[in-house]
């Protein structure tokens, strides 16, 4: 693997990494942030961990070399994050998110308590101490009203830039029951981040449970497609026009054919969703953004990837990401599509993220 650092020939423009994972060293790391009742509950019920099982610890995808601290899982050490990611890539901002699996908890009160603890933990131990970091508000969608209250509690802290929900949910994201969450996010100027993962209790694919991890990981793109369709058809961009939806670690080469399909169907079936008052692809271009990894395209045929980007119909949608600590590329040069114009490259590397997130003005001349 080539040196994990910002390629020297990249332009000197703001660089925002929009997909960076952080995680607690263990469940015990969160207990100081839990009320006593829940601290004892966790201990007495013997819960070991809520780490997402989407990244088996030793799978080749789960961590780039050197990303495992001595005393915890990959992405659990803020100092290692600095030395391995923030500094060598000269990031202006890293947008972090913690996918610790509270979405799989059935007890809505415990889930809410864990969400609060995660937000307090990440604020205290990551965001407050490193000005380059921004974070994602963890919420328990099991009780959308309480999730909205949690967004109201922490949403004005400038370190938070988005609200986090998994792509594999109990119900499609467009479902009206979740709208209090979107209202709260919009209210605070936060984006809605939909991340690869989730343990909802629904089968992982539309046709049941697959045998292999490879199928499960690849299958995430199907889940993202369905969520784009749901958010659009249920009218979330109509009801919340200021809310940007960021698809995190979703891939994006599936998006143009999905736009064609949804546009075509909408033309004949519009009456079912009459609040969708313009082409779905226009709504998608206006309201959705995507982080760049995984770049699902043939690595030695850059022209094909450029064609896909052209079909997106907008150079404002795609945002640079490493997906640290996941091993998505061997050569950092492949972390950006080859052949972008200077303007498009600047947007990709940081401009689109600056326009998407409520980031404070960048210091220094660029």
């Amino acid at each position: 693997m080539a040196e994990y650092a910002r390629p020297a020939d990249w332009p000197d423009v703001p660089l925002v990494d929009t997909d960076v994972h952080i995680t607690p060293r263990s469940l015990a790391a969160l207990t100081p942030y839990l009320p006593a009742r829940w601290r004892d509950y966790v201990r007495e019920s013997g819960v070991a961990s809520l780490e997402s099982d989407l990244y088996p610890p030793r799978s080749p995808l789960s961590a780039i070399p050197g990303a495992r601290p001595a005393d915890g899982p990959p992405a659990s050490d803020p100092e290692l994050l600095r030395t391995q990611l923030l500094d060598p890539w000269r990031l202006d901002v890293a947008v972090t998110h913690c996918i610790y699996g509270i979405d799989g908890i059935h007890n809505p009160d415990w889930a809410d308590a864990m969400a609060r603890a995660l937000n307090d933990w990440q604020h205290a131990e990551w965001l407050a101490g490193e000005p380059r970091l921004r974070g994602s508000v963890v919420v328990a969608a099991q009780d959308p009203a309480r999730a909205a209250a949690e967004i109201d509690r922490v949403g004005d802290r400038p370190e938070f830039v988005q609200v986090l929900l998994p792509v594999r949910m109990r119900a499609p994201l467009g479902t009206r029951a979740f709208w209090p969450i979107y209202a709260a996010a919009e209210r605070h100027g936060l984006a809605l981040a939909v991340y690869a993962g989730g343990a909802s209790g629904n089968p992982i694919t539309p046709v049941g449970s697959p045998s292999y991890y490879l199928e499960e990981y690849v299958g995430l793109s199907q889940a993202f497609q369905a969520q784009v369709v749901s958010l659009v058809c249920e009218g979330v961009p109509v009801r919340f026009p200021a809310l940007t939806v960021v698809l995190v670690e979703s891939g994006f080469t599936w998006l143009p054919p999905l736009m064609w399909r949804l546009d075509k169907n909408w033309k004949g079936l519009r009456r079912e969703v009459p609040w969708v008052d313009r082409l779905p692809s226009e709504m998608i271009r206006a309201s959705f953004r995507l982080t760049a990894q995984p770049l699902d395209a043939p690595p030695d045929e850059p022209a094909r990837l450029l064609e896909v980007l052209d079909r997106l119909g907008s150079d404002r949608m795609l945002m640079f990401a490493t997906d640290y600590p996941h091993h998505q590329f061997d050569d950092p040069a492949h972390a950006a599509p080859a052949g972008l114009s200077a303007a498009a490259m600047a947007r990709f590397l940081g401009g689109n993220a600056l326009a998407t997130y409520r980031l404070e003005a960048m210091s220094g001349a660029r």
Partner: protein, 351 residues
């Protein structure tokens, strides 16, 4: 007509009440009349039109769309110059909860197809309808029905209880290969076991229709990654009515992650996209309609060419593609001839 030999790879022949009675043994005929079919489970998405049909496809005879052979000839086969049409009979028979009943119904459907369609109209071919959730019963029906030369494939529906690459379904694919038949996987199915998406049930039919492509994607991934084509190198699979615009990005995504995770799947000896190129065919309807029709050419190119693409209309459904108007792009004559008939003739052994 743009081509000499138009093959329509997706026409729907519809059953009418009582149509199966002559073909059901007494025990199952009594069951059918007393208890009957047990619901679709969770499929509460009324279509855009009654029976999902074109409004102009209701025959003057009073039979429902697709149920009238004479009208099929008048409205579709004759005016468009269809040389061969492949019938895909959509019926709940294949997924009835009671496996014995499902098997009896499927056999009856196949006998009805032979008597009422294949024997009466030489231009028609059909898929063998099977109770696919019970692979042994399905394999038995394939072995029985395949003798009739009018059957050109085994017919499955895309929304199954488990991904089709799972071992429980292997006898179906073995039977298909044993009988020299491709396996067609068609839009539809489902019996309430799996929600339409990984996040449950969407609200609207437009979502249901659009979500079908994701079910097809999951099936392609399953068949490839489970190594079905390593076990059955002669197996050919047709994806019917799933669209195809999504296929290149899926091939790229599978290849990328297979490279990283190859040690999980040592039984795969080649990149996933190689299996797709060798073993899958797709029908065109519902054809992609990008804002610039020429973008379809890039899709064909990304798929590795036009030799696996087969024209279909989906007659008599509402999202019908007209042979004269679909694929309104400049294609070299050989490619056009392949898509509109040549590929299907080769796959299905039509002459």
């Amino acid at each position: 007509m743009p081509v000499d030999q138009l093959v329509d790879c997706d026409i729907h022949n519809e059953l009418t009440p009582g149509a199966l009675h002559p073909y059901l043994p007494p025990r199952w005929r009594a069951y059918h009349e007393t208890y009957g079919g047990r619901g679709d489970g969770g499929a509460g998405y009324p279509k855009g039109a009654p029976r999902a049909a074109r409004a102009d496809a209701w025959p003057p005879s009073g039979l429902p769309p697709g149920a009238d052979l004479e009208f099929l000839r008048e409205q579709h086969l004759d005016p468009y110059g269809v040389r061969y049409g492949v019938l895909n009979c959509l019926t709940t028979a294949c997924r009835e909860q009671n496996p014995g009943y499902a098997a009896a119904l499927c056999r009856a459907v196949n006998e009805w197809q032979v008597a009422e369609w294949l024997e009466k109209e030489p231009r028609l071919r059909a898929g063998i309808v099977v109770p696919y959730e019970d692979a042994a019963l399905a394999a038995a029906e394939i072995d029985r029905a395949a003798a009739h030369p009018g059957f050109v494939q085994v017919l499955l529906l895309v929304r199954t209880d488990e991904p089709l690459g799972r071992r429980r379904y292997r006898p179906i694919f073995e039977a298909a290969v044993r009988n020299g038949l491709p396996v067609g996987i068609h839009f539809g199915g489902g019996r309430g076991r799996n929600p339409l998406t990984a996040s449950g049930w969407p609200s609207f039919y437009v979502e249901d229709h659009t979500a079908m492509a994701q079910a097809f994607q999951a099936q392609v991934v399953s068949l490839v990654v489970e190594g079905v084509f390593e076990e059955l190198p002669e197996l050919r699979v047709v994806l019917i009515e799933g669209g195809f615009g999504w296929l290149p990005s899926l091939m790229w995504r599978m290849d990328k992650h297979w490279k990283r995770l190859a040690d999980e799947v040592p039984h795969l000896t080649r990149p996933p996209s190689a299996y797709v190129r060798e073993h899958f065919w797709v029908t065109t309807q519902p054809v992609e309609e990008p804002p610039d029709p020429r973008h379809l050419l890039a899709v064909f190119d990304n798929m590795g060419g036009t030799d696996r693409i087969m024209f279909s209309t989906d007659y008599p459904h509402w999202d019908f593609d007209d042979p004269r108007r679909a694929l309104r792009i400049k294609l070299p004559p050989e490619a056009r001839a392949q898509i509109f008939g040549g590929n299907a003739m080769a796959l299905y052994g039509l002459s």
